[in-house]
């Protein structure tokens, strides 16, 4: 036995509610964050991620209340991302009950934030989210602001820099694969896994259970994050893990 591969459902939170939309348009309310998070926990989720998609600062403070309510009932780790800009934001989010914070845009704009967060709170709670888009064969660029703004950063080099700066984990989303349900970008994932010595969470594109297995085995990601397949009820976390265990993947099965 060894370190198990993790399955992580991701919930988009807006103004204190879990929302779902197509390409961030037409967000619709799908439930209470604490209820959904604890349901996934009971099904065997290894962690839960909240992505705060709130547009306003007021709505973000609502999210902190939601984090607190959720943390009181959730006995697996909770990562909160979206709108983290400063060391104070990290502090507030962790004090509200998050175990880790995830940041993207702020880390690109001021990479020192990664180091400052790691020094003060420990690197294990600093997750950096990298949104990567393919620009050629074996080449990917990073995007910020929820995938709307391109940068000059090469995704592989940026991930290496993040590991050097003290990031505890990389949450790697393929923008090409995201939303397609056609499977993770295995090439991208494998390249990053081989390039860094911190855990990599694969994200974007999960449509079937085979996709999860590919990300965890072929690309050797430490964890696979998925949203639609769980929210739409295509698969439960429980049957996902049973499937993976049957395929010989080391996953935690007792809940």
């Amino acid at each position: 036995m060894s370190l198990a591969k993790r399955i992580i459902p991701c919930l988009d939170v807006d103004d204190g509610r879990v929302v779902k939309g197509v390409n961030f348009q037409d967000l619709r309310d799908v439930g209470d964050p604490a209820d959904l998070a604890t349901r996934y926990m009971r099904e065997g989720a290894d962690e839960v991620v909240f992505l705060d998609v709130s547009a306003s600062k007021e709505d973000r403070s609502t999210t902190l209340d939601v984090v607190q309510t959720t943390a009181e009932q959730l006995f697996v780790p909770l990562t909160v991302g979206g709108g983290i800009r400063t060391v104070e934001d990290i502090h507030d989010t962790l004090r509200a009950g998050a175990d880790k914070v995830s940041m993207n845009t702020a880390a690109v704009q001021r990479p020192e934030l990664v180091t400052e967060g790691a020094d003060r709170f420990g690197r294990q709670c600093i997750v950096v989210s990298v949104d990567a888009k393919r620009v050629g064969d074996g080449e990917w660029r990073c995007y910020t602001h929820g995938g709307s703004q391109a940068t000059d950063l090469d995704a592989i080099e940026w991930c290496q820099e993040l590991a050097d700066r003290g990031a505890g984990e990389i949450l790697l989303t393929s923008m090409d694969a995201d939303g397609t349900l056609d499977g993770y970008d295995l090439k991208l994932t494998r390249r990053v896994v081989d390039a860094v010595d911190i855990p990599v969470i694969a994200s974007g594109g999960a449509g079937t259970l085979d996709h999860l297995e590919e990300a965890l085995v072929e690309a050797d990601a430490s964890a696979a994050l998925a949203a639609s397949i769980f929210h739409d009820g295509t698969y439960s976390v429980e049957e996902t893990k049973r499937f993976l265990a049957d395929q010989g993947v080391d996953v935690r099965q007792d809940t």
Binding site: M1, S2, L3, A4, K5, R6, M41, D46, Q68, A71, E72, Q73, L74, F75, V76, P77, H91, L94, R95, A96, G97, A98, D99, D119, R120, F121, G122, R123, Q124, C125, G168, E169, D197, I198, P199, S222, A223, R252, D254, T255
Partner: protein, 200 residues
Amino acid sequence: MSERPTVRLLDYGVGNIHSLTKALQRAGLDVELAPATDGAGEADGLVLPGVGAFGPAAQALAPVRDEIRDAVADGLPLLGVCLGMQLFAEGSVEGEGRGLGLVDGKVGPLDADRLPHIGWNTIEHARDPVEALDDRHVYYVHSYALPDNPHTVAETTYGQTFPAIVAFDNVIGAQFHPEKSSQAGRVVLDAYANLLEAYR
């Protein structure tokens, strides 16, 4: 039967202590939060939580280190989680400062290819009072671990085999996070609750 025992949870000022508070309450304990500098206090037990780095935590505990040592020697039930358990050692290569010296030796870095060690790993060789954890997954987030020591009652392997749980007299500590380990975490918290009953 008397009322619920109260434990004091020392807060070093960083990170998430909510989850551990809630998990202790769920295990039947009342929790009072106190700044680390307030020391052992008058509660029925003392809990050192698992967030932050060794240096700052040891520094925060320095003024009350001897008081805590004395209280534990007098039978105060002590629970250490993650960094809180690492503080049982004499020191750590992670940072300056003295630990409580309840366990001989220094905390050292894990010898593994990919760090931090984050995620669910398996408990091995579990024995009393945590034998129920044998072969179960628990949640780890750390890069350092206690040295081999005679108080180890469960182990885990990641690059190397290291102490997962230590237990002796009125002391218990876990390198993993019981408050984040779902049902499996209850085994450690219940063992601590039993200590509180035994040492009342």
